[in-house]
Symmetry: C2
Subunit: 337 residues, 2 copies
DNA sequence: CGCAGTATTGAAAACCCTTACATAATTCTG
DNA sequence: CAGAATTATGTAAGGGTTTTCAATACTGCG
């Protein structure tokens, strides 16, 4: 079977173009790659032949000859698209500018899966790897470090110190938030951990702990949704029927919504009795009623920056800063006083 | 610069393995490709050499030799990830099973962009193309038809009759829905069109029109959000401050939420005075209060099926059915009586 | 007009695989 | 145990590019 369908059209290669234009294939190659040595006259002949035959360079052959594919592998956690859409948009837009293709991989947490993906990435000879890693554990990250490929960690710090990373400083965000509440004398603060974003939740807890420590207290307020619970909504509903807190911090919008709904159902008034803050802003935090207080984060820029750093890495530029923290803005809306 | 980083490690190729194992490269190739002609003894030697050297086949070279890349291009509308996440999940999971790589492209509506993407796809020599096309116009689709590559349309019908397509039959869904309301004597029905998913909205309107016609009436109830309006929320808010309808149908959850919020703000009681149905279900339709009545659609299966059809297409199997419609389930919740 | 020097072009190797065909090794048959 | 039939391996061409180095075509100058 031919490359495209059953119609056996003969392939148009650099040879066909060379023949059509009456030059050697080397010259055609030079025209394609915009080398400035080729004479204006021959360039025109070649260009015409290219148009006439509808020639499109074969990136596979180029990849083999150049030992680079101008494609980069993007690994994201399974089922994460709904909350990283803007990141991906930023990443893809930037990739387009630099003419990189993105090969998309999803990974469920797990070492086997991670190894499989790496095999795949190596096999595909992607020039680089961007890993959105708020759902992977240190163990999984370790696998990556053993394998040499320019890598940018996205959404969180990397483990090895060699790789670049781009992320929002959630630790500081939570620190500031909690500090503010502690100053107001509010210390019944909990963080919801649904075990789906371990590395990010770690950051949140670290931030809260730091604030508590500075106030001479110890932070212990995380509600961990047990692993065997499939419907976290039900779990939270049950929990908030029996417990009340002054401030509930969640990572994702869906968790904030679950908390707000369950509180409301249990006649806990928001924000009067319980305040809720969602760390990761989304389009829904503004559409939901009450509007959910959250941190506005530059998700698009996050993706765009990651990709830009990758291009720097690949062009051989020295990247001095390894760690890029992006700013957030806290936006108090209707779920906080 | 070497393929990976600055360390100029010498590449391990099929030659190195052959040398290490004391066989010819043809034999190594046979072992890799699990040909059954090679003797058990030599196979073992080769396998050992592969492990020892850490050899990983080069898909680029394979692609050149085999004239196929085992990768398929996925084109989705810009900024669509938040609402097609499950589709992509299904698609990627299936691709993984069949060992296909997915090269991701986003397209804003527009002919230039579409041409650029096609250039890119051809250049990359992807074996096939899957197009999520609920945001592209006929004009853009036409470009695709002029170019020979196995294509599966996802989320909507294709224009040409040659290509396969997988979609939810929204036309029928709306037809049944509207028919039910007309039978109850309710005919003040409107569809919100935000101009972002023209082809899908067309289906909705067609379904509604058909139902109206069968009842001897004409359907004219679409609220089109003007092109120059950037904040559709504000537009709807303004609209519903002055207008009231018995049934409002929206395509996406965000539109339904906007309608519900604006109605509520204008003291229009839902569902008593106005009922709202969201066609495309999402995780938020259940989390929002009131819970939004919607059509549950098998998004994951949609993606999975598209990919499976693609593998059939590529393996040269004859695909008899070109059009795959998936079933939906209407779920009446709290925004309808 | 002839030659040095420069601007263009071409030939061929390299990139890393697959596979048809040829050859070598093994097994089977009488 | 020879020769046929079969099985296992090797050789070499081909896939479509880039790029080095050599060859050729031009230019300007004396």
């Amino acid at each position: 079977m031919s490359q495209y369908g059953n119609v056996e059209k003969k392939r148009v290669t650099i040879y066909s173009v060379a023949k059509e234009a009456g030059v050697s294939l080397a010259t055609v190659s030079r025209v394609i790659n915009e080398s400035d040595v080729v004479k204006e006259n021959t360039r025109k002949k070649v260009q015409e032949a290219i148009v006439k035959l509808g020639y499109k360079p074969n990136a596979v052959a180029q990849g083999l000859a150049l030992k680079k594919t101008t494609s980069i592998a993007l690994v994201v956690p399974d089922g994460s698209f709904n909350y990283i859409d803007k990141v991906i948009n930023g990443l893809l837009d930037t990739a387009k500018i630099y003419k990189y293709n993105i090969i998309l991989h999803t990974a469920t947490a797990g070492i086997n899966e991670m190894n499989e993906i790496i095999d795949n990435v190596v096999k595909s000879r992607a020039d680089g790897l961007i890993l959105y890693n708020d759902a992977f554990s240190a163990k999984e990250m370790e696998i990556l470090n053993n394998f040499q490929i320019p890598t940018v960690y996205l959404g969180n710090k990397g483990e090895g110190d060699s790789a670049c990373c781009v992320y929002i400083d959630y630790e500081k965000a939570v620190y500031e938030l909690v500090d503010r509440y502690l100053n107001k004398g509010i210390d019944d603060i909990v963080i919801i951990d649904d075990r789906k974003n371990p590395t990010s939740i770690d950051l949140l807890i670290r931030g809260a702990s730091k604030a508590f420590e500075e106030h001479g207290k110890t932070f212990g307020g995380f509600i961990t949704i047990p692993e065997d619970v499939h419907n976290s909504y039900e779990f939270l509903s049950n929990y908030f029927a029996h417990n009340k807190h002054q401030l509930v911090i969640t990572y994702r919008d869906s968790q904030a919504i679950a908390v707000i709904n369950t509180c409301t159902e249990n006649n806990i008034r928001i924000p009067d009795e319980t305040e809720v803050v969602c760390i990761k802003d989304s389009r829904y935090t503004d559409m939901f009623r009450p509007r959910i207080s959250s941190f506005i984060v530059p998700s698009y820029d996050l993706g765009a920056l990651a990709m830009r750093i990758m291009t720097k890495l690949l062009s051989g530029d020295i990247v001095r800063d390894k760690e890029f923290k992006l700013n957030y803005v806290y936006k108090s809306k209707e779920t906080t006083k």
